[in-house]
């Protein structure tokens, strides 16, 4: 149940828009999301997660990724959606994000399920509409309209910065 997709580097031309290219599509409830394939290291089935005390609620804990201990975030909780029990389809997507001081770190994100890899052209991507106040749009790259459905493209570095984790941790103390 473990598949490595890191080889599928986005090869599509980036000349037109830095947002065009390959995206991994996944869903949380009714909402469809996409993250850049380049950021994805691997996809694994949900496994035993070791809870870590004194961490924000959306941090589910840590897992063993081939000898490395990496944190796992539940994206549903992070986005304020209702928590659901994990099923057969629930996946952990291991992503590589930017950490402090130009380092990179790996993290797992729990999603309801992965569907496909999308190849988006610049024409498919639209800017995130302005929702006015109350909707956080900083973690969003834009929206993709595909076959009549809207997919939300995430800027995963922004969504999961370590900075966010540490600041919450400090707030808890």
């Amino acid at each position: 149940m473990t598949a490595t997709v890191s080889d599928n580097k986005a090869t599509a031309g980036q000349a037109t828009d830095h947002r065009s290219g390959k995206y991994l599509a996944f869903h949380l409830g009714n909402e469809e999301f996409g993250i850049q394939v380049m950021k994805v290291r691997e996809i694994m089935g949900v496994q035993d997660i070791t809870a870590v005390p004194h961490t924000p609620h959306h941090t589910k804990g840590v897992i063993n990724l081939r000898g490395k201990v990496i944190p796992v975030i539940d994206l549903r909780v992070k986005f304020g959606l209702e928590e659901v029990p994990y099923t057969q389809r629930t996946c952990i997507i291991v992503v590589q994000v930017k950490g402090d001081h130009a380092s990179t770190l790996q993290m797992g994100i729990v999603v309801d399920g992965v569907s496909e890899v999308l190849n988006l052209t610049a024409a498919d991507v639209e800017d995130t509409p302005d929702f006015g106040t109350g909707v956080e749009t900083r973690g969003l790259l834009g929206m993709a309209k595909l076959k009549g459905k809207v997919k939300i493209l995430l800027d995963i570095d922004h969504v999961l910065t370590a900075h966010d984790l540490t600041s919450l941790q400090e707030a808890l103390r």
Binding site: P53, H54, V62, V69
Partner: protein, 684 residues
């Protein structure tokens, strides 16, 4: 034009730097070109120098270790610079691109540091046994290499200092200069300067504003002054050819002796670098033993620590995978002797691989000891207490991190021994002891730990004085008579010092406090044995590695935690009679007639336990920071050696959690930081 010349000279210089691996051919070719070119330009001086060097290289098989040749090359370089000054850009020399290359500079710093370590060791050997040609040669070679590298990267201050020191050492090699304590002092000082310079360059690499190189001129003058005294001293006279004296490139007397070779008439040339005929026959042929030693040295590879850690991770995973296969019920059901045999072989191999991988992080403790040797030498001089240092077990292997972290505590302890332990000479003689004190450092392996002992033959710890001081500060209550061990441990209290006066060596009561904290951080312990009038022994017991921890695996609800075994005193199932509560909140348990606070781990970590009932749970009595408490957990699962892993960025400094570890089934267990677990309790 000038560039071309420089390139040729560098290619010759590179051959010098290569040392044993050098070959004559490329250098000879470059020199031939220079001679021809200089002849065409009409630069007689340069043509003559080039010819002389080429000749010398062809005639001596050991040419690459000859300082004089390298120096001749320097002279050639300067002459060329002077001759080509016309076509150099007006703004001075172009910025050196090599010195901007962080990779090259990084390698230079690393290599120079290695040389500095060996220089210091050899100098201390030389200090004890001045007639040690091997040590002297080795120092010479190290300075020579540093000089070559610095020249290559154009770190002029480093190059010129190394050059002067090399000149001195060359004199000593040729028995024209006696190795006195002054000489060793100055050379040590030069090594210190180079050390500082390396730190500065490193800071520059790290992006910090690299300051200017510290002033080196004064030091160079001091090095040179050694040289002048040597010429004046009644040494085997070496007739400096008049030609060399008039050849005033730098104009110092130094040049007359060592710089003579390249300029001197060919007839005089063999005089200097080889054992001069006037020198006593006692000098062994220099090059032969050096070569033997070099070939006997172990080859080593520098590896990025990240790669090493990755390897360790993977090996850990392999061991887990291996044990999962071995314990697979389906395979066990086969009852096949062949499978069993092969699996046994597999586990033997994986064990071996794991051991080897772990050993890669280890290094001999000797490097640490040698640093102490330097300190003993400096301090014993400064305090006028002659002291000899005995080392044993220098080859004992220990984790690299521990060696680094241990440097400070060792310094403090040795300083303490010299300052407080060892009596002044008069007192020693009065007590019937030898004038020179003895300090010994020993390292041994002992049951999965390393034991480092620091022993002095001084006056021993003064129990009464320490106790009086402690009573004065209220650390020990009146009427309480502590054991010897308790008294001795008082010297580790912050700010505790029995010294009447604060000196720049010790007496502020900071050092020993640092020792205890650092040793505790390394998960080690420290014991003191002392006998009045006979001396004191500090015993440090440390784990072999910081990467692995011996742990008790305990369970709370569905979670598993690892309690570091060194902190565990005992484990038991409490009976209701042992328990009491304070104001209905704080729980206490009576354990061996001591009331200990109870910490419920499930409350600390907000997990749902199997049972809330203390009498159905398990108590682990743990000690941390001198305090004991009972940790309440659901069950005891087993004892396991685990590899400590960081939880990653963003999960550092979680109170109560020291890290993570992969358990036998591949899951992650959290390693408890008992101080944090307990500390929180006191806050709550």
């Amino acid at each position: 034009m000038r560039r071309e010349w420089e390139a040729r000279i560098d290619s010759v210089a590179a051959q010098f730097v290569l040392g044993e691996a050098a070959t004559v051919a490329p250098a000879a070719e470059a020199l031939a070109w220079m001679r021809q070119e200089a002849g065409r330009e009409g630069w007689e001086e340069i043509a003559r120098l080039a010819a002389r060097i080429a000749e010398r290289m062809a005639s001596s098989p050991q040419w690459h270790t000859e300082g004089a040749l390298a120096e001749g090359l320097d002279k050639l370089r300067r002459a060329v610079e002077a001759a080509t000054a016309g076509d150099a850009p007006a703004a001075g020399k172009p910025p050196n691109e090599l010195a901007q290359d962080p990779g090259l500079v990084g390698d230079f710093i690393l290599e120079t540091r290695e040389h500095l370590i060996s220089i210091e060791n050899d100098l201390l050997t030389l200090d004890r046994e001045p007639s040690q040609p091997e040590a002297l040669h080795s120092i010479f070679r190290s300075f020579h290499t540093v000089k070559g590298l610095a020249g290559f990267l154009e770190f002029d201050a480093v190059r010129s200092l190394a050059h002067e020191v090399e000149t001195i050492l060359d004199l000593a090699r040729n028995q024209q200069l006696a190795i006195t304590a002054t000489v060793i002092d100055v050379v040590l000082e030069s090594a210190d300067y180079l050390k500082q310079e390396m730190n500065r360059l490193e800071a520059g690499l790290a992006g910090a504003a690299a300051g200017e190189a510290a002033a080196v001129d004064a030091l160079i003058v001091r090095v040179q002054s050694l040289n002048r005294t040597s010429v004046a001293a009644p040494q085997p006279v070496l007739a400096a050819p008049p030609e060399a004296v008039t050849d005033a490139v730098t104009g110092t007397a130094t040049e007359a002796v060592t710089g003579a070779v390249p300029e001197a008439a060919p007839a005089a040339a063999p005089a200097t670098p080889e054992p001069s005929p006037a020198a006593p026959g006692a000098q062994p042929p220099a090059a032969a033993p050096a070569a033997v030693q070099a070939s006997a040295e172990k080859f080593s590879v520098r590896v990025d620590t990240q790669k090493l850690d990755h390897l360790l991770d993977m090996v850990g995973e392999m061991v887990i995978a291996q044990s999962m296969v071995r314990q697979d019920p389906e395979l066990a059901g086969l009852r096949s002797p062949r499978v069993t045999r092969n699996l046994t072989q597999l586990s033997r191999v994986t064990d071996e691989v794991q051991k080897t991988a772990m050993a890669m992080r280890m290094m001999p403790v000797g490097q640490l000891f040698h640093r102490v040797a330097r300190l003993v030498r400096d301090l014993s001089r400064k305090m006028n207490k002659p002291a000899g240092l005995e080392l044993s077990g220098e080859d004992t292997q220990i984790d690299k991190t521990i060696v680094e972290e241990l440097a400070d505590p060792m310094m403090h302890m040795v300083r303490n021994s010299l300052d407080h332990g060892i009596e002044p000479v008069a007192a020693r003689l009065a007590a019937g002891k030898s004038e020179s004190a003895r300090i010994s450092l020993r390292a041994t392996h002992q049951a999965g730990h390393i034991l480092i002992e620091i022993e002095d033959d001084g006056r021993g710890l003064d129990r009464d004085k320490i106790l009086a001081k402690a009573r004065g500060r209220g650390l020990v209550g009146e009427g309480h008579t502590p054991s010897d061990n308790e008294v001795y441990n008082l010297i580790f209290e912050p700010g505790f010092s029995t010294a009447a006066a604060v000196t720049d060596v010790s007496g502020r009561g900071v050092g020993m406090d640092v020792v205890r904290r650092q040793v505790a951080k390394l998960r080690g312990r420290i014991d003191i044995h002392s006998e009045p009038g006979k001396g004191t022994v500090f015993q440090l017991k440390l784990p072999l590695t910081l990467a692995i921890i011996d742990g008790l695996v305990v369970g709370v609800g569905g979670e598993r935690y690892i309690v570091p075994i060194f902190a565990v005193q005992e484990m038991f199932r409490p009976t209701p009679g042992m328990l009491s509560s304070v104001k209905g909140q704080g729980e206490m348990a009576m354990v061996r007639n001591r009331l200990l606070p109870v910490v419920r781990l499930h409350n600390r970590f907000s997990v749902t336990p199997r049972t809330q009932e203390a009498s159905e749970s398990l108590f682990v009595v743990a000690e941390t920071g001198g305090r004991r408490f009972c940790l309440m957990v659901d069950e005891f699962i087993g004892k396991q050696e685990v590899v400590i892993k960081s939880l990653g960025e963003g999960m550092k400094n979680i109170p109560g959690v020291a890290g993570g570890a992969i358990l036998g089934d591949g899951r992650v267990g959290l390693i408890l930081d008992l101080e944090g677990v307990y500390g929180e309790h006191t806050l709550a």
